[in-house]
């Protein structure tokens, strides 16, 4: 995964983050305007542009808490989600 690709996708979804401002890895993304609906759009964009698939169990508030937590999650994402029984 290219870091700047990840950053540019993420920044597109942070409507309260000025274009030239720093994005600290540990800052809450909510602060920059990422709500749960936008998290879904962000997820789709990340999957499309980075060619990964995040398993459903990663769709949690923790995953989308900060840029760093999201970067970690995307880093561990596999190409296909594992089949599982609920």
């Amino acid at each position: 995964m290219e870091d700047n690709e990840f950053d540019s996708v993420l920044r597109r979804h942070l409507k309260n983050l000025p274009e030239d401002a720093e994005l600290p890895g540990d800052a809450p993304l909510k602060k920059y305007g990422l709500d749960s609906m936008q998290a879904v759009e962000l997820l789709f964009d990340l999957e499309d542009e980075l060619g990964v698939v995040l398993p459903d169990e990663m769709m949690t508030g923790d995953t989308f808490a900060t840029a760093e937590s999201l970067r970690r999650a995307v880093g561990t994402a596999v190409d296909e989600p594992a089949a599982e029984m609920s």
Binding site: E41, F44, E47, D48, G51, V53, D79, E80, P81, M85
Partner: protein, 396 residues
């Protein structure tokens, strides 16, 4: 608890047992449908899994599961193969009736064999003269000492060719009224089972539920009567009908959920993402409706499970309305879900018989749901009940 006496396999969780059989169902689903054959290998896997005894109390070697477990397992199995799911669920309906209403002698003999997966029980309730009307019977039992003779024409028995035992509705005696119905259990070995000549099985869907006419005759002990002489009405109201509707609805819901799972897998996959516009408002609205149909059906199942456990009067209008309504709603909405999903994924994924997604098969299978104990008849009954429940007793 009997866990200390049970072999290690009995301590396995229900979820693990289901997970072990699902691949077998998946592997055979397409063939079972194409050839319209009974799912013998999936049923063997279910026999070995212990799940044929899901509702058998642990004291008799079963898994001691409840209706919640029945719902979940039926839904999971049916997500892979609705024919197999239905065969299993209808077997469980028979087991529930036996576990609750059979006398001590029959329980001691039969429940351990059910738990061990040795006996697959088919249901014989339809009769030529009365069609599918459940609470009446015309063929009479004939008693001779403590033995009971039965002779029965059954126009349609799901899985009848493969069943190891039968639960049969019979008029209690020659002189009894048709409403005086006894439920009788017979092992296949106690019966002469004749298959009608020239019957062919080539239906639109549910092709694995190999169903056909049978003629049964034989002699069983008086203790084979389940729920006492003439006691079927009580068995039906307390157990047979509620468990049947819950089981069917769970199967249909499970198949529809399986269809949605498959579609989500496709549209969320990297390849699918190139074909489907997940930003489309139309796509999202359709998916939202589909999910809502699944959620409302699941909620109604849960309510009917509660009603069945709690209702002091199973004939109370509000309880009957929900019980009948569940069957109608699950049948309609599960089919509507698959129909909508065909629209979502289009011709290539939703209409071709050899598409990787099983939507075409599920569509044909679920078309049977409204006909299987006809929605029209249940709606007629519910229409009358609505009129007498002026307080409109909702489960609020």
């Amino acid at each position: 608890m009997t866990a200390t006496q049970a072999p290690p396999v009995a301590r396995q969780g229900i979820g693990d047992r289901v997970a072990a059989v699902l691949p077998v169902l998946r592997e055979h689903a397409r063939r079972v449908d194409a050839d319209a054959t009974f799912p013998t290998a999936p049923l063997d896997a279910l026999r070995h899994s212990g799940l044929m005894g899901l509702l058998v109390p642990t004291a008799h070697g079963g898994l001691g599961g409840g209706l919640d477990d029945l719902v979940r397992v039926a839904a999971e199995l049916s997500g892979e193969c609705l024919s197999t799911g239905m065969i299993w669920a209808m077997h469980c309906q028979q087991v529930a009736a036996l576990a609750v209403h059979a006398g001590p002698e029959l329980r001691a003999d039969l429940l351990p064999r059910l738990a061990a997966g040795q006996v697959y029980v088919a249901s014989v309730t339809s009769e030529k003269v009365k069609g599918g009307h459940l609470l009446s019977a015309h063929a009479p039992l004939r008693r001779e000492g403590d033995r009971v003779h039965l002779e029965r024409d059954a126009p349609i028995v799901t899985g009848g060719s493969n069943a190891d035992g039968f639960l049969i509705t019979m008029k209690d005696s020659d002189t009894a009224q048709p409403a005086d119905v006894s439920l009788v259990y017979a092992d296949r070995a106690q019966l002469t089972v004749r298959h009608a000549e020239g019957f062919s099985w080539d239906p639109m869907g549910m092709r694995g539920t190999h169903s056909g006419p049978l003629q049964l005759s034989g002699v069983v002990p008086e203790s084979a009567i389940v729920g006492g002489a003439g006691g079927f009405r009580e068995v039906a109201l307390r157990t047979f009908v509620p468990v049947g509707h819950i089981a069917w609805a769970s199967c249909w819901l499970g198949a529809a959920r399986g269809a949605l799972r498959a579609v989500l897998e496709l549209v969320r996959s990297p390849a699918g993402r190139k074909q489907f516009d997940l930003d489309s408002d139309l796509l999202r609205a359709r998916l939202a409706r589909v999910r809502l149909d699944l959620d409302t059906t699941a909620a109604l199942i849960a309510q009917v499970v509660r009603d069945t456990g709690l209702a002091p009067d199973p004939e109370a209008p509000d309880v009957q309305l929900r019980l009948n309504g569940l069957k109608v709603h699950a049948a309609e909405r599960s089919f509507a879900v698959v129909d909508a999903l065909v629209e979502v994924v289009g011709l290539r994924h939703g209409y071709l018989r050899d598409a990787p997604l099983p939507l075409e098969r599920m569509f044909r299978d679920l078309r049977s749901a409204s006909l299987n104990y006809a929605n029209d008849r249940l709606l007629g009954a519910n229409g009358a009940l609505v009129l007498v429940d002026r307080g409109v007793g909702l489960a609020l």
